[in-house]
Symmetry: C2
Subunit: 291 residues, 2 copies
Amino acid sequence: MTARDLSVDERLEHLSLNTATVREQGDLLAIVEAAKRHGISCLCPWRDQVEAVGLQSAVRAVREGGFRLSGYCRGGMFPAGSAHHAAMLDDNRRAIDEAAALGAPCLVLVVGGLPQFSRPGSAASKDIAGARAQVEDAIGALLDHADKADVPLAIEPLHPMYAADRACVNTLGQALDIGDRLDPDGSHRLGVAIDVYHVWWDPDLLDEIARAGKSRIHAFHICDWLVPTRDLLLDRGMMGDGVIDIRQLRAAVEAQGFTGPCEVEIFSEDWWSRPIDEVLATMTERYRTVC
Amino acid sequence: MTARDLSVDERLEHLSLNTATVREQGDLLAIVEAAKRHGISCLCPWRDQVEAVGLQSAVRAVREGGFRLSGYCRGGMFPAGSAHHAAMLDDNRRAIDEAAALGAPCLVLVVGGLPQFSRPGSAASKDIAGARAQVEDAIGALLDHADKADVPLAIEPLHPMYAADRACVNTLGQALDIGDRLDPDGSHRLGVAIDVYHVWWDPDLLDEIARAGKSRIHAFHICDWLVPTRDLLLDRGMMGDGVIDIRQLRAAVEAQGFTGPCEVEIFSEDWWSRPIDEVLATMTERYRTVC
């Protein structure tokens, strides 16, 4: 398999910062300034961070800073009780519009789990198959709006430990099945975001990456799996501190023709507690040495 | 699908207590006495608990108490550096012999993760595919001993959040693939232990249960998945307190002809902190009402 040599990527052309990685250290404008200091030229912002500074302000900061985007986080949270269904779709259409305004190459979809968790107030259910059907219906209902906005949707399979409350799409194969059913010919550019944290354990992963191919892979996210992992949500590791063979997975994705950046997304109370310049310096060094 | 009606199982004929559920409240002999008080007549003991009271003492307590066993926990932890390989196999052969002495109908295999975690002292590796190959090799090497001891082996797929450190077999399909390769005609009775906690999220689960069929299903473990889950290892829920549709999964297993008990296995600092009689009373009540 062919893979880019990141050790010589002095200009960090293939690195993106998912802004959740330093969300506790400052607002989006402060993160943009910090990224500039470290030579990072690609970002993936989160909706709540954009909202906090205002969409127009975020758009201006991205453009004036000369940043590219690797995606926009996030749409989704589809399973919803009937009283919440219309608002859920409206919310997702707004996310698509924001992604378009920012010039994001895709909207990442965290699809949601059981309805009582993905849209609080919805009636409680244990029907995960039903939640999965709701996910597929909602994505299907959004494709036209995404097409008009020219924002491809990227289904992100989440680790099975989030199946109940965050995403009931839990393997790459499952995400690709949805793509095959809703967009068999690829005309809607419905694809996937592959985050090594969520999928590294999957015995079918390399086969499914090959199945995805270039056209379905919209984003590639990296961090690491720590042993022990002390918290289900907020204990992701910096690349190199855990057990994931990131380079192997990157090579597999790049062998399919993926040319997008490695997007670093780390939810970690540890890294959130450190100065932003320490986090970004560590991240760029690890990008060149262990990814 | 046909399923037993547990609400009328006054004698708890289809209930088993995995003794780890109350491991902090007393030794195995105390657990046996408590089980008697609650009318529980089936157990699945753990090796360390047996060792603590002595194998002969454990055998006597089980026999004199008139208990059946639903399994013995556990063999496994197969991935090992070369310096640890022979000891790993010896250790597993002893586990098989202990299971035979106790009259257990199967030895549950928690297969282990990367070698540095499954057999500490082994060289560190990120090669999960290699660990999986080691698992399969080791199980193959143990089949003859298991046959001679008349103890079927039951591969337990563990939740993907344990892939690195506890078990790199993470789906029922993956466990069945190993069974198909090592024991295609079933003559070794190589099978699986299905624990709802580990597999409930799997979109292929019902299909894989059907694929397993009666001959491969050696054990059925129950507890619940809590939202939020506060600890990766020690925050399992009592049946009914979480999001797993236990009755649906039990019906699927029983539709294949499985006639073994529902074995309650709860690792929980919460439930370990409660009096043993409260835990067993709650467990038997939930067994009849929500399972």
